[in-house]
Symmetry: C3
Subunit: 272 residues, 3 copies
């Protein structure tokens, strides 16, 4: 019984790249089931990929988790496979911070291996498609039950690249200074303020009460609610989204476009 | 042996939503095979989703059929799982009409269950992602063979929401008044005139004969044919499409753009 | 144990077409695993589909390879299933050249069958969706182990349509005249100059040396390198891509847009 493999990338679906990675895995481990998490990560956006992986992983079966958002492919960045403390999950991808938020959700990394010259790689290794030549064959062999140590050379987990990521702060005057970390296909804006941090939020932030939003010089009024039904059509909603982090939505509309915010932008939330 | 699961939604593929639903199903029922029908239904377009599901379902293996186009998520709409009279198919999704045309293809609904508070749901249930928290775990448990009655509270099938949908009519002067129900990726326009209704069409509609099309004040000439090869490049074709409903295509072009029609628009067909 | 099926098309993912093909295969051969290579081939672009299939196939497990880019559907083009000399691969699709480059990679075709009226087809066969009605059921039955000869009427492999494709040439003055055969989602431009032909390239083409590119009246300077890291951000790179053919990339940019080239366009490479 092979372990399930999940796969996330910025490859998009216009080309055969995703299909070829599936094919390589199927050759090396025919019994492995591969679950595509998404291949719509914006090109080379390591932070967006890392956060999507972190959001998705708790819902996936423990197994092998392949992720490729790799602007440094062919350069000096390391390629890695790591084991998490909890649930014995194995993450495979470039060592550029992509894997670390997800690994931290499972207690961090207890074992790491450098796989650029893995004995399992496909030769000749291309300079530009390590998903096919390095990451997929390693993920497949791990799914088949081969030991992590066989994937390459041991690496000190303390040397792994971590991700620079923002986090919201609460100012003394009660302003919440948050940042957009992602926008989804509906135009909802995810902020860097997780459920756990909301316990310390200013007292003015109460369900059913208005919230003033400022972003890039624009201001707008929203309501802090539980769900879309708590505001009228075309009204802005501040809410805990499905990841339990604070988010902004526009009922039957596109909040990101309306507010003019993109990932990385600052949003200030105040009592009106 | 698990039952196969089909999955249709308006989630798109840019985010990890579809992948997370697959992951939840794989955790709850590792043996279930999941077939994606499409995730490209226009956002919140319940009618488009219902019609795509109705078109696809006769080609799918009997099993569990998960569909999520759910503008009312988090509001008062019911979440349901239903059994069809024929082939013992199980459909899971919001109670907003999305499932009813497909269920009618299989003799209608013989058993219905309200699943918003299903014992199989993932807690905490988010306000916005019932695909992950309610529909996927229910679909997975049904695929694993658990009884429908275990999914939630019994519901009278007569109380289910049905879909408002148009149908073409034949006027006394011989005009066929039809409506665009969908346009596909090629720009073909599907009309609300199924094969069965064509038997009563006016006598002027004959294979090989011209058809005058009027839509939104524009008029164009087409030919009633069997296939694209029956008209020249750049010419309009009226034909029975792969669903055996009447449709309009432009040979090697985009009929919807050329005629300026979108789903819901009226088209009038007359003898020239 | 069913043979794996790969599936490539120009159907896109906006509609249920791809899902319905999967469904038909799952009904006829529930044990077959289906690997999507891509469905993002530009509509009706047989050459692009043929080259993507040729690039992907060596990485796939031997099995049944379904490909549908079929502008002539419903007309007089043949529908075929063929066996390759090497690895006993079975390719299924329209007889318009789509399958031939991939088949040639495996020693060419040793057995061919015309399947338009296959006993395995779904009746009534639509005029426009042979992927569902002809190709998918044939692929599924072949995956299940039925003999190729049972799929339809024998056909002389010499009668199969081959693909018109360009190839780069070396002029006497040292100019390399190549053509764009594809651009990928990153904007990289693939040329019709494979690794094997590079052995005869003019001596001025050396790793680390500059290359002058001309396309459509525009000229630009590039470097012949091994990987993106060999040039600075925003600089053009000529390199052997992951298929080992010559390609042009722009480090962290879109070479196709910058050079203004599309598939079919000529590019001239000279020493500066």
């Amino acid at each position: 019984m092979a372990r399930p493999v999940t796969f996330l990338s910025d490859y998009g679906l216009a080309d055969e790249f995703v299909g070829v990675v599936h094919a390589v895995i199927a050759r090396a481990c025919p019994a492995a089931r591969v679950i595509d998490l998404t291949h719509g990560i914006p090109r080379h956006d390591v932070v967006a990929g890392a956060l999507a992986l972190e959001r998705a992983l708790p819902y996936t079966p423990p197994g092998v988790h392949l992720a490729v958002v790799d602007p440094g492919v062919g350069g000096r960045r390391r390629a890695i496979a790591v084991r998490t403390a909890a649930e014995d999950r194995l993450l495979v991808g470039p060592d550029n911070g992509l894997l670390t938020p997800a690994a931290e959700r499972f207690g961090g990394v207890t074992e790491a291996v450098e796989i650029s010259r893995s004995p399992w790689r496909l030769e000749p290794v291309s300079a530009t498609f390590h998903g096919r030549d390095v990451f997929a064959p390693v993920a497949a062999r791990l799914a088949a039950g081969e030991p992590l140590a066989g994937a390459g050379a041991p690496l000190d987990p303390a040397e792994l690249i971590t991700l620079d990521r923002s986090s919201a702060r609460f100012e003394e005057d009660g302003t919440i200074v948050a940042h957009a970390v992602a926008t989804d296909g509906y135009g909802n804006v995810l902020l860097d303020l997780p459920h756990e941090a909301l316990a310390a939020a200013p007292a003015w932030l109460r369900l059913g009460r208005p919230v003033r939003l400022e972003a890039g010089g624009r201001a707008a009024q929203a309501v802090y609610g539980r769900t879309f039904a708590d505001v009228g059509r075309g009204e802005l909603l501040v809410y805990e989204d499905a990841t339990r982090a604070l988010a902004v939505a526009l009922n039957t509309g596109d909040a990101a476009a309306t507010l003019g915010v993109a990932p990385g932008d600052e949003l200030r939330l105040t009592a009106p």
